[in-house]
């Protein structure tokens, strides 16, 4: 019997290709394509007075220069608002090329197409654009003051305002024995995948079709978006996501201006055009996240039970709202985490600023929510003189309370109901694994060192709809192909989907090839985001494979003359007692043929089959082949959870902050591949460490970007990320057949909160914002008397 593959740390074929140096990323394609480059706004806010193309047009090798005036059809229209919402009362999106006003540094103004990128950039440098600078709105305080507006007519720079409440939180705060008020903030950072964005368009004049390769997380949706914007029938547009070098949310936005302009130019010029973003463009012109300011009122009793929590926050949404208000909705609904709050009210405003757009980055608003909730619990513990972990325990939702309804509406428009979980067990395990209870002793053992320990908990809604699909095919060699519509950017989908299909079909994972992100192969999908691929896509694979298995048993039963319930699939064959029929043969028999072309298919032609002459070769409700397509559409999100404990050591003189230990205890339901799960968690924690201690995107008050390179924007290196200890608890989800929950983002969610808690513990100084650098901590020390 084939051993189960789900649950094992299988390695995958993609890793071998990448290690060999044979990956096929966007810029590895289209070597003969013309190169596009963009002239982008150097101003945060300015009127475009005049564009002079004369010098640029004289550059040898130039093919074309386009401004907004040259654009046609849908390319002249504002980009789509991808997720409209009733609370988003003033949505605004940019034009693919700016017309009269630019609203952030990096906004594209002129598109240049040339024989290669060097020439295209030469021409960009010779484009003259006269700007009249306008006052820039930078940062949440300036946006709230609204002395200047980002968009005329958007009063107070407010794009959206939304309130959710469960119980009367303000009354509960007033009535509580103790009350605290906190002001908390998180600054800007960004996804920063190692591969920037890129688009390569191949028009085919002969059949009037368009193929677009894009480093995207949403190939299927990009296809429909491009068909709509470029006014093409969808069946004339194909979108392919090749190997994609990380996404973390930024590649989910679509269509980016460049995703409209490159195909538009390719159609206009009748030739292949490719644009590969450079890092300076990526930092300025792609998306950012995290910037929020919160005001918290909390009421609690003498044991630290939260009786009421009222939060108001302001979310910096950047210059436009292409992705709607998903990030602040996620913050506002995931803020309560694993806790039972007596009453909760949250109110947020999304504010326009003259900065790059803000769209989901791994965690998608949760890190801010966890920071606020966990800072609040630390403040309660400090007020009461209680142990921080104990205060958390008292507020945790208990397993007996599952499923637990938080009384809010989540980002999928569904009720926020936690499906399963054992939060006290997560906390206990984390305390044990981290040595929480013995930390005072450890401090005494290491005198002279400024050590601190911090803790933070989180819940992550994962695996939301609307749906994903999969097609599972067994070919006549017995090889299995799994095709999914979602995309992959390094999450190991090829490995985990192969494991799922292998177990359902009794084959080895290496006998399964997984194809993703190609609308020619699978047209319907939402995409890869919100920790949903293993949950929604994985279950679709299981369902499709189960259909194939059922058909294989049916076909084999007929061939073997045995009842289907005496058959099973194992070792690449259908087995009945002593007899076995290879899956390859079953695949042949499942497809009645007119023509034979090799020794295998001879068994399936009309003269070879021992078929019932009174039945059609294919039953009325059947289709040829061992080939099934299935979709999985979850009723609502499933909720992962975890607890992180960080131990820091801080230099008493320089305030340098080093992470000594980092413990993660998490529950993502049934892990399909523990190595993939741990890789996702470690990567998330590393990004969380970046957001806590290193990364910050800074704009000057004039709207200029001050952190325009990776030398300014300090992504963590191997020396900044400690060994991370991981422990898994398993509470299967009741909401899907595999019992899985998502894990793509959980690692990043509580990191800022845990590190803030640890620094506070080491220093005895209250932290109310993140990130924090050694220089800032040193300043804080001076303010608090050293």
């Amino acid at each position: 019997m084939t051993a189960p593959h789900v649950g094992r740390p299988v390695t995958g074929a993609a890793a071998e290709r990448f290690a060999a140096g044979t990956g096929r990323f966007l810029d590895d394609l289209g070597s003969g394509a013309a190169a596009a480059a963009f002239v982008r706004s150097p101003h945060g806010h300015a009127r475009v007075l005049r564009i002079d193309l004369a010098d640029a047009e004289r550059v040898p090798g130039l093919i074309a220069v386009f401004t907004y005036r040259d654009l046609t059809g849908g390319a002249r229209e504002p980009l789509p608002v991808l997720i409209p919402h009733a609370a988003l009362h003033s949505p605004r999106t940019g034009l693919p090329l700016a017309d009269d006003v630019v609203r952030h540094v990096g906004e594209p103004v002129v598109m240049v197409v040339a024989v290669d990128r060097y020439v295209a950039e030469d021409a960009c440098r010779l484009v003259g654009v006269d700007y009249e600078p306008l006052p820039a709105v930078i940062g949440i305080p300036a946006a709230r003051r609204a002395d200047h507006l980002v968009h005329p007519g958007v009063v107070g720079n407010v794009a959206a305002c939304m309130v959710q409440e469960n119980g009367d939180a303000r009354a509960a705060v007033s009535a509580a024995p103790h009350r605290l008020t906190l002001r908390l903030g998180v600054e800007r950072s960004a996804a920063m995948p190692m591969e920037c964005r890129g688009v390569y368009a191949r028009p085919d004049r002969d059949d009037r079709s368009l193929r677009v390769y894009s480093a995207t997380q949403a190939a299927a949706s990009l296809r429909f978006a491009l068909a709509a914007v470029l006014d093409l029938p969808a069946d004339r547009v194909e979108v392919v996501a090749p190997d994609v070098g990380g996404g973390f949310g930024v590649k989910l936005v679509h269509p980016w201006p460049e995703e409209v302009l490159v195909p538009w130019a390719a159609l206009r010029l009748g030739r292949e055009v490719k644009w590969v973003e450079d890092r300076a463009e990526h930092i300025a012109a792609a998306s950012h996240e995290r910037g929020q300011q919160h005001e918290v009122e909390v009421g609690f009793d003498g044991d630290g039970h939260v009786q009421g929590l009222a939060v108001s926050f302001w979310h910096d949404t950047g210059a436009y709202t292409p992705y709607g208000i998903i990030v602040p909705i996620v913050t506002s609904t995931q803020l309560p985490g694993p806790y039972r709050l007596g009453a909760y009210r949250v109110e947020f405003r999304s504010l326009y600023t003259n900065t790059a757009v803000v769209t989901p980055y791994r965690g998608a608003g949760r890190p801010q929510g966890a920071f606020v909730m966990e800072r609040t619990l630390d403040a309660i513990a400090r007020f009461l003189g209680a142990d921080r972990a104990e205060v958390r325990r008292r507020n945790l939702i208990r397993p007996s309370e599952m499923p637990y309804d938080q009384g809010l509406t989540f980002q999928d428009g569904r009720p926020l109901v936690y499906d399963s979980g054992d939060y006290p067990a997560l906390l206990d395990t984390a305390l044990t694994r981290s040595g929480w209870r013995d930390f005072a002793t450890r401090r005494e053992r290491e005198p002279g060192k400024r050590l601190g320990i911090g803790i933070a908990c989180y819940v992550e809604g994962t695996g939301m709809g609307p749906y994903e699909g999969a097609r599972v095919q067994v070919d006549t060699s017995g090889h299995v192909t799994v095709t999914v519509g979602l995309t992959t950017q390094g999450q190991g989908h090829g490995t985990v989907f192969a494991q799922i299909a292998a177990d359902e079909l009794g084959v080895e994972p290496r006998d399964v090839t997984v194809v993703s992100g190609d609308t020619r192969r699978f047209p319907y999908a939402a995409g890869t985001f919100a920790s949903r691929s293993a949950v929604v896509g994985g279950n679709a694979v299981a369902l499709a494979a189960r259909e194939v298995r059922a058909k294989a048993l049916r076909v084999a039963a007929r061939a073997l003359g045995a009842p289907p319930d005496e058959l099973r699939l194992a070792d690449g064959a259908v087995v009945a007692n002593a007899r076995a029929i290879p899956l390859a043969t079953v695949a042949v028999l499942a497809n009645p043929l007119r023509y034979a072309f090799d020794h295998r298919t001879r068994q399936a032609t009309q003269f070879a089959l021992d078929a019932d002459p009174d039945r059609p070769p294919l039953d009325a409700d059947d289709a040829p082949g061992l080939d099934a397509t299935a979709f999985f559409s979850p009723i609502r999100s499933t909720f992962s959870a975890g607890v992180h404990v960080a131990v820091v050591e801080i230099d008493p003189d320089t305030a340098e902050i080093a992470l000594r230990d980092y413990v993660v205890v998490h529950d993502c339901g049934r892990p399909i591949n523990p190595a993939v799960v741990e890789g996702q968690i470690r990567g998330g924690v590393a990004q969380g460490i970046g957001g806590a201690l290193h990364e910050r995107i800074v704009y000057g008050d004039d709207g200029r970007l001050r952190t325009g390179s990776l030398a300014d924007l300090l992504l963590p290196t191997a020396h900044d990320v400690p060994e991370i200890t991981i422990d898994h608890l398993v509470t299967p989800s009741p909401l899907n057949p595999l019992g899985v929950k998502g894990v793509g983002e959980g690692g990043v969610v509580p990191v800022m909160a845990a590190i803030a808690s640890a620094i506070e513990d080491a220093e005895g100084i209250v932290l109310d914002r993140m990130p924090i650098t050694p220089a800032e901590l040193w300043e804080l020390r001076q303010k608090h008397g050293g």
Binding site: T11, R17, F18, P193, A686
Partner: protein
């Protein structure tokens, strides 16, 4: 723009190519010589994805005009394979230890680790961390990369248990 004829040995193969003076080694390898494993992540010398070995030493190919390495031996990830064309020792260790996620930084990691292990064949865990600290990875959190360095350095070549 003046062009120059340069001669490179790329992964052991002699290549003669005409390049403009400003052509970066990364672009020359990728676009003139079809060595697409050399990935360009920042063009500012920070991320390390474009790292190649120049006469055995790891260098940022995005900071080197190709004309400055005329006559040099260049090794990319494609050149770190085993003699039979299969994965080399470091490449196998990266796969086995789950040190590969999106794959974009991987070629820079491969050549950096290969060069590092030549200098330091039996690294401590701290030294193994140094081996990967010159290349940014946004996916793995580095732990599995450090494990891969140690695995590749095992006396049995990382092939045992």
């Amino acid at each position: 723009m003046s062009e120059h004829e340069i001669e490179l040995s790329v992964n052991g193969r002699r290549q003669v190519v005409r390049v403009p003076a400003r052509r970066l080694l990364s672009d020359c390898l990728r676009h003139d010589l079809a060595c697409t494993s050399t990935h360009v992540g920042c063009e500012q010398g920070t991320c390390g994805a474009c790292t190649v070995l120049v006469d055995g030493a790891p260098m940022r190919s995005c900071l080197l005009p190709a004309v400055t390495v005329d006559g040099c031996e260049i090794t990319t990830a494609e050149g770190c394979r085993a003699p039979d064309g299969g994965l080399g020792r470091v490449q196998r260790a990266l796969v086995r230890c789950h040190g590969v996620q999106c794959g974009f930084c991987t070629p820079g990691m491969v050549v950096s680790i290969v060069a590092f292990l030549r200098e330091c064949p039996r690294p401590s865990p701290e030294q193994a961390r140094d081996a990967v600290a010159g290349v940014l990875c946004r996916c793995t959190g580095y732990q599995d990369l450090v494990a891969a360095v140690l695995h590749a350095a095992r006396p049995d070549g990382g092939e045992g248990g």
